[in-house]
């Protein structure tokens, strides 16, 4: 049985939970966010991704109520949230530093928000126990934050921010302080919890792998603007700009002049080299500058000349051996370096080419993406 795909953003009838409408935020003369519009839907796991200083944390702090909006509106369930102070918003936040109260036990930390709502004692207790079960922290209920490990602290912070069953949970670099192994485990845990509780999550991260793993949609930001908002596979396979292609994963970019016939484009990129054949749905004027972006894993490398729409020759400059895969840096006669990635299906001693060997690289005419800018 297949589940219907979760994609409310493609459904014109769906009403978004959060709407940014032409939001601008300035700090003095510095513009952190500029004329930004964005819809986030209920039950989404939405990732804001970008380098530090791109405005992603500012967006989150505006949602939480710690920063005012300079221009424009943010709507939650159709209501402008500007006049609502942070303590009255149905939004909770998990802080990057976790911000656990050091003078309270794990139990009291989780109960903190519930007690502010004048909830009955037994209701508080049952809710806290539920949260402890969800985050597997039952054994640590009486410990103080400094008596537990970083991973446990991260779970306490999550439990505390989920306890009030917010409509929207904001996560500010939630896994930044964890080591890689623990981070991967926790990513899956976060996804499980998000699915179990049905809460809308908005996560801020600078780690593209993390964003790709957890999110239903990713917004790539740069200098206060949204560069692209799409599902992880669209962002990876069909980036809309060189910036996005370059920010997410590894990519080869070849720039040249386009000549289009139908959906096929030939790119003249260097004197004496064969033109690159690509496919696009965009329209390029004859001679227009275009950028051909292709992922290293879509570039094949071989010792014999293969039969493919695009074949270029070069020599191996460098090999990055990662165990399961190797990335070959191949220098073309023009000096351009193309990265090609292959799975190490054979023992390394049986590799048919090594440093300085002449090789052929090849790719199909649909493997890459043609970008205007």
């Amino acid at each position: 049985m297949t589940q219907p795909a979760f994609s409310p953003w493609d459904d014109p009838a769906a009403t978004p939970l959060i709407q940014f409408r032409n939001v601008t935020k300035r700090f003095g003369t510095f513009t952190a966010i500029e004329g930004l519009s964005l819809d986030i839907f209920e039950r989404e796991f939405f990732a804001l991704l970008g380098p530090s200083g791109c405005g992603k944390t500012t967006m989150m702090r505006m949602l939480a109520g710690f920063e005012d909006v300079t221009e424009g509106q943010i709507l939650l369930n159709g209501q402008d949230i500007a006049p609502v102070p942070p303590n009255k918003r149905a939004v909770n936040m998990m802080f990057q530093s976790y911000a656990l109260f050091p003078h309270l036990s794990v139990w009291d930390n989780i109960a903190f928000g519930l007690r502010r709502d004048r909830m009955r004692k037994d209701a508080v207790a049952s809710r806290v126990d539920e949260m402890l079960r969800l985050t597997r922290l039952e054994k640590f209920a009486n410990r103080k934050p400094h008596q537990i490990s970083g991973g446990q602290r991260q779970r306490v912070a999550l439990a505390r921010s989920l306890a009030k069953a917010p409509k929207l949970l904001l996560l500010d670099e939630p896994l930044g302080a964890l080591d890689k192994k623990l981070r991967q485990d926790t990513q899956f845990e976060l996804m499980d919890i998000q699915e179990t509780t049905g809460t809308t999550f908005v996560i801020v991260t600078h780690d593209q792998e993390e964003a790709m793993t957890v999110a239903s949609r990713v917004a790539v930001m740069d200098e206060g603007k949204l560069m692209q908002v799409a599902t992880p596979d669209q962002i990876y396979e069909a980036p809309n700009s060189v910036y996005v292609a370059d920010f997410i994963g590894d990519v080869n970019i070849i720039s040249g002049r386009a000549s289009q016939s139908g959906d096929k484009v030939a790119i003249a990129w260097a004197e004496g080299e064969p033109q690159i054949q690509g496919t696009t749905s965009r329209q390029f004027a004859p001679g227009q500058t275009c950028h051909f972006a292709i992922r290293p894993e879509k570039v094949a490398i071989s010792a014999q000349k293969p039969d493919a729409p695009n074949v270029l020759r070069g020599k191996v400059l460098d090999i990055a051996y990662l165990g399961n895969i190797s990335t070959y840096h191949v220098e073309l006669p023009t000096g351009t370096i193309i990265k090609a990635q292959t799975a190490n299906t054979r023992r390394i001693a049986r590799r048919s080419f090594t440093w300085e060997d002449p090789v052929w690289i090849s790719f199909s005419d649909t493997a890459g993406v043609l970008l205007e800018h």
Partner: protein
């Protein structure tokens, strides 16, 4: 390297002798059984006993204690509030001026503080007595409290307060339930410092007191002018004890809190 050389030992002895010999002599003579201060006639606690019979002295002690408790409490409240505003409120017009002004009394000669307060109290027609001493002590102790508390607040993680707001606290609740318990050691050591300062202040108290109120330092000072009595030695010894206790507990409390904080931070970093 030899750590304990004769030179070091001598320097240490002289340094500490210079600082503490007078007090040690005073304490020793407070146990002298002779009425003549300078002649040793054997050990006795007689003067401590007589001190307890001296109504004047006891009244003065009681007044001093009252002044110290009220003024240090007031100074702690005001000093903490001032520190909170200075550290938290961000930039506002005249902030630099305000923060400079709050620390100025630290270096202001006591005579000037005392005189100006006296003029103020006369100007507004306030009868001089316990109340005016309390107000005066609050004024000068408050800046010490705010120095201690603001140094703690600058290292305080702002996101803790934001988390409290996020979880539904009003700004006042966030302060009461999160900020205050965490900075409590600094607030308490500020209080102890203010208490100690008030306990041994002579200059400002003499300026602002009236006929109805006499604090111990004033009492001692005026008694000594008529000649040193062993009773005064006993009283002074008790005061030395109290002040020492106050200062030591203040530094112990802030040191213990600092150690606990360092441990927490280490645990957090190592996790």
């Amino acid at each position: 390297m030899k750590r304990f050389s004769w030179f070091n030992a001598t320097s240490l002895t002289f340094g500490f002798a210079f600082l503490y010999l007078p007090m040690i002599i005073l304490i020793i003579y407070s146990f002298n059984s002779s009425k003549l201060v300078t002649v040793w006639a054997g050990f006795s606690t007689r003067w401590y006993g007589e001190l307890m019979q001296n109504e004047d002295m006891l009244d003065a002690a009681w007044a001093t204690l009252k002044v110290a408790v009220f003024s240090s409490t007031l100074a702690t409240i005001l000093g903490t509030m001032a520190a909170y505003v200075l550290v938290r409120a961000g930039r506002f017009a005249g902030r630099t001026l305000f923060s400079g002004m709050i620390y100025a009394p630290l270096v202001m000669p006591e005579v000037i503080t005392g005189l100006s307060l006296l003029l103020l109290f006369i100007g507004i027609g306030l009868d001089r007595g316990i109340l005016t001493i309390v107000l005066a002590h609050t004024t000068f102790a408050m800046c010490y409290v705010s120095v201690v508390v603001s140094s703690r607040l600058t290292s305080f993680d702002r996101s803790l307060e934001e988390a409290a707001l996020d979880l539904g606290c009003s700004p006042f609740e966030a302060f009461r339930l999160v900020t205050l318990p965490i900075i409590a050691p600094a607030v308490i050591s500020g209080w102890l410092l203010a208490f100690t300062l008030s306990l041994d202040d002579l200059v400002i108290a003499s300026f602002t007191t009236g006929p109805s109120a006499t604090t111990l330092p004033i009492k001692i000072f005026s008694a000594v002018r008529l000649g040193v009595s062993p009773e005064i030695n006993a009283l002074s010894s008790i005061m030395i004890g109290l002040v020492t206790l106050g200062v030591i507990s203040a530094s112990l409390i802030s040191k213990r809190a600092a150690v606990a904080r360092a441990k927490d931070e280490q645990a957090a970093a190592g996790a």
